[in-house]
């Protein structure tokens, strides 16, 4: 049953033979996003970004239908960490949170993507992320 503790969180990691800077920049460059943010079945991706904290992005993936993804940058700490909200059909237009960490391992970089579904009661103030959200929920239910 303990496997169900964190069903709200997806963590995916990959070690890539590139510098943290090059990898980090690919997340905020519309031309780069157009190339690598294109899952199977998507013919064309277009991206618009306003890469500053509080700035918004829009990534539109076009296949048989159009899949817009939007969100707001929360942390831009080049080349270590990038945090942004993520709203799409996949999240049923609710805000979720994506944290990308870039960890140097010699000449390679491990990229760790943590995608979290945000609890409803925390949707308006989740800058501190999931941990803080959990603390607040605990307080809420303990009251």
């Amino acid at each position: 049953m303990n496997a169900a503790i964190a069903p709200a969180t997806v963590v995916v990691r990959r070690t890539i033979a590139a510098s943290a800077e090059d990898l980090f920049d690919a997340w905020l460059d519309p031309e780069a996003l157009a190339i690598w943010m294109r899952p199977g079945g998507i013919r064309k991706t277009t991206a618009k970004v306003d890469p500053r904290v509080g700035g918004r992005y829009e990534i539109v993936m076009q296949g048989d239908s159009t899949f817009p993804h939007t969100g707001e940058y929360r942390v831009i700490d080049r080349p270590k960490r990038l945090v942004f909200t993520w709203i799409s059909n996949g999240t049923e237009q609710r805000e979720s949170l994506v944290t990308v960490d870039f960890l140097r391992t010699g000449r390679q970089t491990e990229v760790v993507v943590t995608h979290e579904q945000l609890p409803q009661s925390q949707r308006t103030s989740h800058t501190n992320g999931w941990t803080s959200a959990l603390e607040h929920l605990d307080e809420h239910y303990a009251a």
């Binding site: 169900a4 069903p7 990959r14 690919a26 996949g90 609890p119 929920l137 605990d138 239910y141």
Partner: protein
Amino acid sequence: MGEYKSARLDEVFNALCDPTRRAILARLTDASARVTDIAADFPISLNSISKHIRMLERAGLLRRSVSGRDHVLSLDAEPLAEASAWIERYRRFWEGRLAALDTYVTSKKRKRK
């Protein structure tokens, strides 16, 4: 439908982010149990346990059957399946994107050299 589903998903996630509620679910993994038996397992009041149980019921994670004076609880794992479908979809999505990021950045680097 989407609205209903995500509201329920919220309740599932909220229900799961408390250690007592997770322990209640864990207690019910193997067999159903009476509310009074569950309450006896935890060092908190019956009233608090009842509150936790009601939250789990609202999230659809518990089923209650009443026989005589006994309220028997059993686990319903189906809402967890919805939560894990969300996880699975994004796991596949991000794995694919990181593979594409790898290809993009490493091939760009080769071209530059």
